[in-house]
């Protein structure tokens, strides 16, 4: 599966907005660090139509190193979580269905020719 990096995204934003690449990079980097900072303050970041970042606490529990089987104790900790909005979930799911249908029809076309 191809991987998209921050650099690729910046390039695409520059194309679509016509803004200076340096400014875009600055904004994106500030955005990413702001998300971290807000999460530390135990704040929820809600981006309508995209999703929500929440910092969740995890209780301390005994665990095991899966490789060695050695018991380890996990301390109480915070985990950043992100939940996609249902709009986005639908959108990503839907585009895949469309693609699947397209390949099917291509096969059907080939079958009908032979």
């Amino acid at each position: 599966m191809p991987n998209v990096t921050k650099q690729d995204l910046i390039q695409e934003i520059a194309k679509s907005t016509g803004l200076i690449r340096n400014d875009i990079k600055l904004v994106i980097e500030q955005f990413l660090s702001l998300v971290g900072e807000k999460l530390i303050e135990n704040k929820t970041i809600e981006l309508r139509g995209f999703g929500t970042f929440v910092c969740k606490g995890r209780k301390a529990r005994p665990a095991r190193n899966p490789r060695t089987g050695e018991p380890v104790f996990l301390e109480e900790r915070f985990v950043p979580t992100f939940k996609f909005s249902s709009e986005i979930k639908d959108k990503i799911n839907f585009t895949d269905i469309l693609q699947a249908e397209k390949t099917l029809t291509q096969e059907e076309v080939l079958n009908s020719i032979h």
Binding site: M1, V4, L26, V27, L34, F50, I92
Partner: protein, 116 residues
């Protein structure tokens, strides 16, 4: 009320970024919105997005499975599909925990000072 106070919206973020970068709020908003829609677009094309030091937006395929309607107990077939997931980077996880430990420490020091 507490919920409202702890909720940060896109508008708040745009204001903060504009202040820090010295760019206008309009430009900042355009960039952020374009960023979010680029992420969605890349994912709907079947790509994973990796942002170093922050995390990964990944696409996971889900197989079709049988499930049950918890209310009626009826069997339902869940269709196969694609699910987007976010995986936070090790750095981000570490960042959250280090500073929260520091906060706890500074709080306990402050309370000790108050007692003294």
């Amino acid at each position: 009320m507490a919920i409202n106070n702890s909720n940060v919206t896109k508008k708040d973020i745009v204001e903060d970024i504009a202040l820090r970068t010295g760019l206008t709020q309009v430009d900042t908003k355009v960039i952020i919105e374009s960023f979010l829609s680029s992420v969605v677009k890349a994912m709907s094309e079947g790509n994973n997005i990796e942002i170093r030091g922050f995390g990964r937006f990944k696409i996971k395929e889900r197989k079709a499975r049988k499930a049950r309607n918890p209310k009626t107990g009826e069997d339902v077939i869940v269709k196969a599909g694609i699910k987007p997931v976010f995986e936070a980077s090790r750095e981000l996880k570490k960042f959250l925990n280090e500073s929260s430990i520091e906060e706890i420490f500074s709080e306990s020091i402050e309370s000790k000072n108050e007692q003294a």
